[in-house]
Symmetry: C2
Subunit: 790 residues, 2 copies
């Protein structure tokens, strides 16, 4: 039974690996820099139920291939293509987005079947409305529309780092898959059948439209082709080459529902086709438990590029080697932070770490060619090209985390963003981009804090002058979202631009970042200029309500004004995905300035308290999918992510500790439904990773991390430099969540923040924890994190 042999081989390998690691750990008991087996804590199913929008497929760290099951093809809610509550698998596609709010990818689907040739997926009896009414019901019903899809059960499903397997119940076929950076391999273990098939559906994609595709039967066991997708990414090219382990017994290409047959009066080939709706079906007669494998390379450049990727990365028919190589890569990544604590927290933590390594991902072929934003094919010279920049999300914690544990990659990501700038027809850095398309999703110019934060942290590997030119040009763009008006008048008026308050606030923060970089580079005029812009938040602060509020170009405040209202209509809203009450706190670079505007710490604290306790009657239209709610603090979306730390700024760090612990332990976990909101390409997860260690970058670019409360008794960051930064938390437990005292390298530490310089040089941060707040720790005037206005 070949499937069992494979399984056996895997067991054999892991036994060997464990023995090796065990022997290592014996000899290097106290040297946590040794790679230990952490991949076992990764559970890719975490976040697949509900709003997390993660996917359980196989991927290597930062790999362009994310191969896994699609249980949904149409629903907006199931952006990654997989929802744990679904009971049907449509097939296994090569690409997926981690935790976005909008579906896309799901390219190049493969599905094994038994019986008559199927070229349509079939449909499930489910509507958006039904999903909303009963989101976790089983929705599958075999119907006349049944196609190649199959029922599956979680009992027969296994997802781990770089491995996914499942039994397809309708066909009694076991499918398992694994990946390299640019290729994937699938094993299908068939029952005995005269009519086994493997379908390749080029018309499949998540939610959007394939408007053109092509396929070629290269030889008796190889196909190649491409499809072009008009999706969230408006103009996307995906090429592939797939090699099957056994020559086809028979084959057929389907075009628009008809067989592509040799037609002597017209097209005289049944071996290739182009069109809008193409499938390929390979037919086999299989023995009982016969395993047929398919290995697939993908590329955004060409089918030839996909072939080269495949042959470079999966030259042999050795599934286990692919899997094990990926496990090794994952262990290497996961060991960058070694934690000790409760097993379920470790599962949540390492799965979070895993999520931060899913995007941005490599976007170039092994030969260095990639498709640029100008749609031309470029060669990456002197850098490695990455894509998927969910910047409104990831500038907050993901890229700051990269500045600690992915320094080399982060520099390459910066270079990729600078290349985007070079290729941009609008002379702009990326806003929200993937697969060489700018989606223009969300607001601000948050490539800026990503670049500035890396510069402030002396990240090597990118050209600072080039980067500065790009961030300044972006921030001076005369067209982008009324930045010009903002620069000239100090705010974005709501009568000229929607989401005007959020934009003003985020521009101001981004400008603070530019000022920091300008200052460090000695560009004093620029420093002054952008520093002034960084204060623009003051111009949308309504001193009567003591809240941020929309202002029109005549200087009139928005009327009527309900600070707790969630404005769904994009043309009427001043706030991006939130309320005025939530966005009021968005001055990460000048909290003290905000405190002053409000009239002092007491008002500030009282307003913060209200945020965490204000109970809205219901989920207002458009906000239904933002969960993780404590009053009006919504952890399920990014605008809230920095707010719980703000108590530190008014010398009430224990309130920060209380909320941070509550959020960590209720909004994260080790179950499919544990993620309270879209993982947003790792941002939700990066938030958790920082906080589990006890600190968080409230203001990237400032080189200060604000102290929350740790989750683990120990966490060691193993820097690429070889240095280590160790966090220890004595007496920590689910009750002992309050900081009693802190020492840094043996010296008492009474600040509610810790500077980057102390972390990167290595050292030990020791927390003494207890069940009640220490009202005396970090309450001195100068113990709070730095603000611009002090």
């Amino acid at each position: 039974m070949r499937y069992k042999i494979a399984t056996f081989k895997s067991i054999f390998f892991y036994t060997l690996l464990f023995s090796f690691l065990f022997s290592c750990s014996k000899e290097n008991k106290d040297n946590r820099n040794e790679v230990v087996d952490l991949y076992k804590y990764v559970n890719p199913l975490i976040g697949t139920k509900g709003e997390g929008n993660t996917y359980p497929g196989a991927q290597v760290p930062f790999g362009m291939v994310q191969v896994g099951p699609d249980t949904e093809t149409d629903l907006w809610e199931t952006a990654s293509g997989y929802e744990y509550s679904d009971s049907v698998i449509f097939g296994f596609s090569m690409t997926h987005l981690n935790g976005t709010g909008i579906p896309d990818l799901g390219d190049i689907l493969f599905m094994p079947t038994i019986g008559k040739r199927q070229f349509k997926s079939g449909k499930i009896n489910k509507t958006d409305k039904e999903i909303k009414q009963n989101p976790y019901s089983s929705k599958y019903k075999k119907s006349p529309e049944h196609g190649y899809m199959s029922k599956y059960n979680h009992i027969d499903e296994k997802a781990s780092a770089n491995y996914y397997s499942v039994k397809l119940q309708d066909y009694n076929i076991w499918a398992e898959m694994s990946a390299t950076e640019r290729a994937g391999i699938m094993n299908f273990t068939f029952p005995e059948s005269d009519s086994s098939h493997i379908v390749t559906d080029l018309s499949h994609v998540l939610r959007w439209d394939v408007f053109w595709s092509s396929i070629r039967v290269e030889n008796d066991s190889t196909i190649s082709g491409h499809h072009q997708v008009k999706g969230w990414a408006n103009d996307r090219y995906v090429y592939f080459t797939a090699v099957f382990s056994r020559p086809f017994d028979d084959l057929v290409i389907m075009k628009n529902g008809k067989k592509v047959i040799y037609n002597t009066t017209r097209f005289r080939s049944s071996l290739e086709a182009s069109g809008k709706n193409l499938q390929f079906i390979a037919d086999y007669k299989t023995r009982k438990n016969e395993k047929i494998s398919v290995k697939i390379g993908i590329s955004a450049v060409s089918a030839q590029g996909a072939y080269e990727n495949l042959m470079a990365e999966i030259p042999e028919w050795d599934f286990d080697k692919v899997r094990e190589s990926g496990v090794e890569k994952w262990n290497k990544e996961l060991n960058k932070i070694q934690v000790e604590g409760k097993e379920e927290y470790k599962e949540a933590f390492y799965t979070a770490f895993y999520h931060t390594c899913q995007a941005p991902f490599i976007f170039q072929d092994v030969n260095g060619l990639y498709r640029g934003f100008d749609k031309n094919i470029h060669k990456a010279e002197g850098f490695e090209n990455y894509t998927l920049f969910s910047l409104w999300d990831t500038y907050r914690a993901t890229h700051p985390l990269f500045c600690l544990v992915q320094r080399e990659r982060n520099a390459q990501m910066l270079n990729s963003m600078l290349t985007h700038y070079d290729q941009s027809v609008d002379d702009l850095l990326p806003v929200w981009s993937f697969w060489n398309n700018e989606t223009w999703c969300m607001i601000g110019y948050h490539a800026v804090p990503v670049i500035v934060d890396a510069y402030m942290k002396d990240l090597p590997g990118f050209d600072a002058e080039r980067a500065y030119e790009a961030i300044k040009t972006t921030a001076m763009n005369p067209n982008y979202d009324n930045v010009k008006y903002y620069a000239e008048n100090g705010y974005v008026p709501f009568d000229k631009e929607n989401e005007s308050v959020s934009k003003t606030l985020e521009y101001a923060y981004d400008d603070y970042c530019i000022a920091q970089m300008a200052k460090k580079m000695g560009k004093i005029e620029d420093y002054k200029y952008f520093l002034k812009r960084a204060m623009a938040y003051q111009n949308v602060f309504d001193p009567v309500n003591k809240l941020m509020r929309g202002k029109d170009s005549e200087g009139n405040w928005r009327e009527p004004f309900d600070p707790h209202a969630y404005a769904h209509d994009i043309n009427k809203r001043d706030i991006t995905e939130g309320t005025n009450y939530q966005y009021t706190w968005y001055v990460p670079h000048d909290i003290n300035g905000l405190i002053n505007l409000m009239g002092g710490g007491d008002v500030f604290e009282q307003k913060l308290d209200t945020l965490f306790t204000y109970n809205k009657d219901n989920l207002e239209k458009g906000s239904e999918d933002i969960l993780g709610r404590f009053g009006e603090y919504w952890h399920g979306n990014e605008p809230s992510h920095h707010i719980a730390f703000l108590y530190n700024y008014v010398n009430k760090p224990w309130k920060t500790q209380k909320w941070i612990h509550k959020i960590m332990t209720t909004q994260y976990g080790n179950q499919p439904g544990s993620l309270c909101g879209n993982d947003d390409c790792g941002q939700m997860s990066a938030w958790y990773i920082f906080n589990a260690m006890g600190f968080y970058p409230v203001c990237p670019g400032s080189n200060q991390y604000v102290i929350g409360t740790p989750l683990f008794q120990e966490a060691v960051i193993n820097f690429e430099s070889g240095r280590k930064f160790k966090m220890k938390a004595n007496n920590i437990s689910d009750d002992n969540i309050y900081i009693q005292s802190v020492s840094l390298n043996g010296v008492s530490w009474n600040n509610s923040y810790i500077p980057y310089s102390e972390i990167i040089k290595g050292g030990e941060l020791l927390f003494e924890m207890g069940p009640s707040p220490n009202f005396n720790w970090a309450v001195a005037d100068d113990s709070v994190p730095v603000s611009l206005t002090k």
Copy 2:
């Protein structure tokens, strides 16, 4: 007045050129190898009225760019996009097909306008039916649907080699254009206007569908983009970069009829778009007679490739330099055959020569990159890549002509065909291909005679072993059009394959060619095998009717049988675009065998006479567009092209002379309507070139040219080797059309053919002409051209 200055500069240049040439001709009076001014005899308008389907646009020899006016966008009949009888110009597009029967290309249209911005072409009140009823009427009527199109008049139109100009009446704009291999330049001379525009319409293409396109405004005077076309070529990519001589005063991209505007809630750029239906409009305020130029590079690889092509070939703003460089190239080509005779014949001749240099054309960027049949981007290493192989037409006379006057290019065309074979998913040489698409048009495997003819004529520059493998593999293909059945059973049965008689006959001829190459290469087994297949024509010869006739797989003849019927229904016909009576003569390699089958020369001659005199009552359905009719001899289509020479084989060369002269002087000429049939990528024209010199390759691959009757008093072929072959015809006139005697290099020549070896080595062929036949010339048994069966 800049337009006039340009004209003045042109006049100045040509005066200089003439002076130079005149001085040359004085000094080299008898040396015809000197380049003399022949471009003036080229009239690109010849063949643009009626069935010729030529185009009047600007092109350099074998250039990938054919830039010119489109007067029709939909009609099947107007395959080149230009019909002389039309009175409206839609715009000027970059690519055109010469003389095909099916429309395609017409890519990337530019059109200058005045007034309100127009992004639709507008429509003309014309239907297929109207065209047929009154094909040469003026059909233009200004209507509410009027778009950017304009009326024009032939008085205001000038077409010459590499130059086209016209006045657009609706706008009082003069347009002129010229080309290089991969780029074109257009001058638009505007009146004074506040609302001048230049429209770029990416949705424009001849007859078929643009299903995707993209456009980018690269800077204040440059745009780039592409479109993808599902047409006759099923999957075609055309990229372009266009640089305008003046920065845009304003601009707009139109997408699906709407302005692409900066949209703060979604796409935040008005400078780029992707979609199915895109136009770009550049706005200008123009002074009186202000000239704005646009230079455009194209590519099948990328917009970057198009840009590199443009910058390499048209780096400056010098229209005249582009034009003059092309004129120089044309003069170089045209001088390869120098003729003396009537001026109108010279116009017809050099325009015919011009047509033979329009296709196949270069299909690679200046950097060597090209799109292959596998859709991958390849680099042409060691050869130059060409496309547009209308092989069912051009194997007859175009490529044989290339074996004389385009030897180097023909070798590159062969290499391009071999590359096609390498890239073919079906392991086939091209059948009918262009722009990296196989269209599968027409029948047979006529890449074979093109390759074999070149090999038999010792053409250097290609690998014979590689070529032989390709032709043999093609002829042994197990799938293609029942070749397998034919190979095993000696004929194609009509119950298994349509056009079975034509296919049997053409396969047999192609196989004769393979046999010749095999023999010369010493592959004796292959020689015998293919020689046997070459006799397959005998298996579809009905000995009762003494005609070729469909036979089914049981051996039964087709019933009912009307040898003169034109079977329109493709599923019921045994003949390709003709009648059984026409195709009976298709045994070019064994006319003597056919004579024997018929029962001797007398029957053969009598049947030939009938062909030329048989009057069909009307144009049967499907055959309406095949004109040039003498009885059932239809010169407007290729199956008749070799038939008039067959009288030579029964020792009646004067009958050949009579018909050849008649065809030359009635079916060709110097008027727009002079071409009686589709030029078919130069085949109609190549027929004329050979015959104007007095001979024709009835059986390419045989190394014999069959003597017809010359048209010119003198014709000199200037070989690339430096050798010359001179044909002289004493006493020739429109009355003196009969050969009295022939001498070759001063020695009497009594054969009705002349071998290739005598021509290529140089020499002089002297005809003595007279008003009546010499019944004694070339009538000996061994004076007739060689047949396989002798």
